[in-house]
């Protein structure tokens, strides 16, 4: 029987760059995009030849950048290559990321025909003023229109990304954004906190005093409000930053936290297959050149995960999830009774109300604990 595999496809293009973005995405011309798609298709062929024998695809995630900034026909070409070179299980979850103003009805039509059955839209906030300060060019109305179009194809599995902590954003903005999404009956919401990354335009603006970040206290309030508003409205926080109505948790997302195998294709994509983590080069031009000239995936680094790293990742990733860290499974996998080896740290964290151990012997992070998860991981790793 073939093992399950998830596929991540990276499209590094945007129509404009948001000023807080530090990921691999650039504004490029059509010619470059075409060459990139060609290289990507070739990489899919190469990887298909390598992995198809032993793996069957269960989820696909087309992310970016903004995949919808690709010209019409691009996604279809890529997905055809996937179907040709991999076995894709019939009920696979296939997600694409969109920006509210870059996906025309035709494009959405193309995606649906290409098998996409889940959409993830970067809304971030409904307040247009906040959005434009961040270099985002869409409006709340664009978002509504996109949702409407997607739903015309009978697709209800839609996610919206919401960002907390933008300069100028208030608690009222966050509440309004959430209420808007609840009213639209969106089944999945991802909520992140803004982090000011090195080398971004945002960093310069903050350093120069052009923009001001909300205080830590305000951001904590935004997050706590998000959790309580969404939970009150039937969303479950199944992972640190992901909320879903029953049955709508992202399968692809869970692959990361459950440490099941996934393969990334495209520039700067990351993979974890058979205990090895590897990543492709993070420069678009290098990526194209290597695939074109050397006819191989442009892997820039690969590392077999050691047992101790695996153990750390198990702790780090499982604690992000609603199910937490199963003491029994951890014992089975690593031969370590974490209740005993981390006794002092656990006692301290339990006393502080940051973690609990539930009746099934799972170590779970509390609402209060989620805000300081990195520290908790550090204590338990």
């Amino acid at each position: 029987m073939k093992k399950p595999l998830s596929l991540y496809i990276h499209l590094p293009f945007c129509n404009s760059k948001c000023n807080y973005c530090s990921f691999v995405s650039e504004v490029r011309d059509e010619k470059c995009k075409q060459r990139y798609v060609k290289a990507l298709v070739r990489e899919i062929q190469i990887q298909g030849a390598k992995y198809n024998k032993h793996f069957e695809i269960r989820t696909v995630f087309i992310g970016g950048g903004t995949p919808s900034s690709l010209p019409l026909g691009g996604i279809r070409e890529i997905m055809s290559a996937v179907y040709k070179n991999f076995s894709v299980k019939a009920d696979s979850e296939i997600t694409i990321e969109l920006n509210p103003n870059s996906a025309s009805a035709e494009k959405i039509h193309e995606y649906v025909l290409a098998g996409v059955n889940r959409f993830s839209i970067g809304l971030q906030c409904t307040n247009g003023k906040v959005l434009s300060k961040m270099g985002r060019t869409h409006t709340s109305a664009d978002f509504d229109k996109t949702i409407e179009t997607i739903r015309e194809y009978g697709i209800s599995n839609i996610n919206a990304d919401v960002m907390l902590g933008f300069p100028g954003q208030t608690l009222a903005d966050v509440k309004a954004t959430l209420e808007h999404l609840i009213a639209l009956k969106l089944p999945h919401i991802s909520s992140y906190m803004l982090s000011v990354e090195e080398g971004t335009k945002l960093e310069t603006m903050i350093d120069k005093g052009v923009l001001y970040l909300p205080t830590e206290k305000q951001v904590v309030n935004m997050y706590n409000t998000t959790v309580s508003v969404l939970e009150k409205n039937g969303y479950e926080r199944y992972e640190l930053s992901n909320f879903a109505r029953p049955g709508f948790a992202s399968k692809h997302n869970n692959v990361y936290w459950n440490r099941t195998d996934y393969l990334g294709v495209g520039v700067s994509s990351h993979s974890y297959v058979a205990g090895v983590r590897f990543a492709n080069t993070s420069k678009i031009d290098d990526y194209i050149k290597i695939v074109e000239t050397q006819d191989k995936p442009p892997v820039s680094h690969a590392k077999k995960i050691t047992v101790s790293e695996k153990r750390e990742e198990a702790i780090m990733l499982s604690l992000r999830t609603m199910n937490g860290l199963s003491v029994d499974e951890f014992q089975k996998e690593f031969g370590e009774n974490i209740l005993s080896t981390k006794n002092d740290a656990l006692k301290k964290l339990i006393k502080l109300g940051l973690v609990i151990i539930d009746k099934n012997n799972n170590i779970k992070v509390t609402d209060k604990g989620y805000l300081v998860l990195n520290r908790i991981i550090l204590e338990l790793a």
Binding site: Y8, H10, F23, F61, G63, D161, S190, S191, Y192, M193, L194, S195, E216, K217, V219, V220, Y223, L240, S241, V255, Y256, Y262, G264, S268, S269, H270, S271, Y272, R277, A279, E309, E312, E313, M316, L317, K348, L349, L352, L354, Y370, L371, V372, L373, N374, R375, I376, I377, L378, A381
Partner: protein
């Protein structure tokens, strides 16, 4: 290469030291003596040849005594002159007395402009205690401020030495150096001893050589020793086979034998540092001799805890202290456990300079990262039950109710300064609970202030304050002056409710509030926010006198995990782990080591 001329008769040997107040030119004079005797060629000579430790040369001070063997010809006769250099700083008096025990004479160097100073006297008394002949020499006569005749008179008046023949020299310029050597030959008695008696040798110093093991520096009193001699340390009872003997010229130079009257070294594959005890007598196995008078143990004045930054380096620290102890008998240490700092040692030092030297040597020569706790002094604590205990570690101070009174060590301090800083220095001395004794104009530009000061105030930040108040011009000298009753209290620092023992202090009640507030404020700055709120308190006998709070950490950033990029999360975790490694647990609180050290160095 072996020298064949080691059978010098005793009349041809002179063993002498040079003693002086710090900075009166002792090391420079030693260099000149070696040049003039051809022991070293002038062009090879680095400045201050005998200050072999990097640290000594850098600081311009002599810490370790170093012997050197020189040849000199006078009136057609050949002589062997053994010079043993001595440290001049008050902290190293013990070392001086050790080298003096190996000599028959001492050259007393007095600065022609500064005259007799505290340490000049102290060293003269030591020399007299050892029945040494003292040859006064007036140095630095080339200085414009030199007043050789007055200083000669001063030496006669204050010390009572005949200075009629005292040479007037300039070690720096090489003036009249040969006169000193002639006088050493003429005036210093030659050693008495019998080469044919059984071996009897005094170990006056030792050091560790990476290839040869522990080396004994010896003065042969009677008999002789050569390669193959089976020797016995009379104090430790250990027996060794001699593998090499030699003298210092000034590099260690192998000789066929060392015999009565001579000064040199013995290497005997001694691996364990503790097998050598400075002051011990070496005899030949089977022909045991009488034990020579050893040295009395000196009492440390300043104490401090020394801990490895990385707890796993405890054994390296232990080895390092053992090796230092081999060449620095005055260093005392015993194991100590601190709940905050783990395993380490409580060390006793002869003074602050000594403490600084030891910690620097640990860091430089042994490559150790160490934490030293605030220096403390030894208090005499009289308990209500009539018992008196000495307490140098604040953790061992008995509870208040059982203390009748505490006496603290006091010093007679002499502060030398240009006149314009007198006011500023007096203010510092007052703040340090100083009792004014005297103010003397030594010269137009030089004032001597005398104070009685508590030693505990000096070990805190006195030097730094003195230096900054006088733009570096003031200098300072002290001698112990007994004990005096004082209102001392134990100041505890609590982090999250737990006493942090490494930060506890014994302070004067009047200073407690200020110190407590200083430490809590500084801690608030350096304690990183953690998962819980951390109260920082300073207390005396359970009563809180200062308090600060470090608020709990509220949030990390919840960032998107793009395309399964777990490596970003890993990197964050690795970075956090790196940071955590540098943390010390103080009770339930994590504190970066650097932050902890900044508290210990607080002024």
């Amino acid at each position: 290469m072996k020298n064949k001329n080691s059978k010098t008769k005793l009349e041809h040997i002179r063993n002498f030291s040079i003693i002086a107040h710090i900075d009166h030119g002792k090391s420079t004079l030693a260099d000149r003596l070696m040049e003039i005797t051809g022991t070293v060629a002038k062009r090879d000579s680095k400045d201050q040849l005998l200050d072999s430790m990097e640290l000594e040369r850098e600081r311009g001070i002599t810490i370790k005594l170093t012997p050197v063997t020189m040849k000199y010809t006078k009136d057609g006769k050949d002589y062997v002159l053994n010079l043993i250099d001595t440290p001049g700083h008050v902290d190293f008096t013990y070392e001086v007395s050790r080298s003096l025990a190996a000599c028959e004479g001492a050259v007393l160097v007095v600065d022609a402009s500064q005259g007799v100073e505290a340490q000049t006297l102290a060293n003269v008394y030591l020399a007299l205690e050892n029945d040494l002949f003292i040859l006064p020499v007036i140095n630095k006569i080339d200085l414009p401020s030199a007043r050789p005749d007055e200083v000669k008179e001063e030496v006669e008046d204050v010390i009572g030495l005949d200075t009629s023949y005292a040479p007037l020299v300039s070690a720096k310029m090489g003036i009249n150096i040969d006169q000193i050597l002639d006088l050493v030959v003429d005036k210093v008695p030659c050693p008495e001893g019998d080469k044919n008696e059984p071996l009897q040798a005094l170990i006056f110093d030792s050091y560790y050589d990476n290839y040869k093991g522990a080396i004994c520096l010896v003065r042969i009193v009677n008999g002789s020793v050569k390669t193959g001699t089976k020797i016995k340390m009379l104090q430790t009872g250990k027996v060794f086979d001699v593998v090499e003997v030699g003298v210092f010229t000034p590099k260690p130079t192998e000789r066929e034998e060392l015999s009565a009257g001579e000064v040199g070294y013995i290497a005997a594959s001694i691996k364990t540092v503790s097998d050598i005890s400075v002051g011990d007598t070496i005899a030949e196995v089977g022909k045991e001799c009488e034990k020579l008078d050893g040295y009395k143990q000196v009492m440390p004045v300043v104490y401090s805890g020394i801990f490895p930054v990385d707890g796993s380096k405890y054994n390296l620290l232990k080895d390092a202290l053992e090796k230092l102890k081999l060449s620095d008998a005055s260093l005392l240490y015993s194991p100590e456990t601190s709940s905050a700092l783990g395993y380490g040692f409580r060390c006793g030092f002869l003074g602050l300079l000594h403490m600084e030297i030891v910690t620097e040597r640990l860091e430089r020569e042994f490559n150790l990262d160490i934490i030293t706790t605030a220096p403390s002094v030894s208090y005499n604590v009289y308990k209500t039950n009539g018992e008196m205990i000495e307490v140098s570690n604040p953790s061992f101070l008995p509870p208040v109710q059982s203390i009748d009174r505490i006496e603290e060590p006091i010093i007679n301090a002499s502060i030398y300064t240009p006149p314009e800083y007198v006011g500023a220095i007096m203010e510092i001395a007052q703040n340090k609970r100083g009792e004014f004794i005297d103010m003397q104009y030594l010269e137009e530009r030089r004032v001597k202030l005398s104070y009685v000061l508590p030693l505990s105030e000096i070990v805190y930040d006195f030097f730094d304050k003195l230096k900054s108040a006088s733009h570096g011009y003031a200098s300072f000298d002290y001698e112990m002056a007994g004990y005096s009753p004082s209102n001392m209290v134990k100041l505890d620092i609590l982090l999250n409710g737990d006493v942090c023992d490494a930060l506890s202090l014994i302070v004067h009640r009047d200073k407690a509030y200020e110190r407590g507030r200083g430490i809590t404020e500084k801690l608030k700055e350096v304690v990183p926010r953690q998962l819980f709120e951390i109260p920082i308190q300073a207390t005396i006998g359970g009563k809180v006198i200062a308090r600060e709070t470090v608020r709990a950490m509220r949030k990390d950033v919840i960032a998107k995990c793009y395309g399964g990029d777990i490596s970003r999360k890993r990197k964050l975790l690795e970075k956090q782990k790196e940071g955590k490694k540098k943390m010390r647990m103080l009770g339930s609180v994590e504190l970066p080591s650097e932050a902890f050290m900044s508290i210990l160095k607080l002024d």
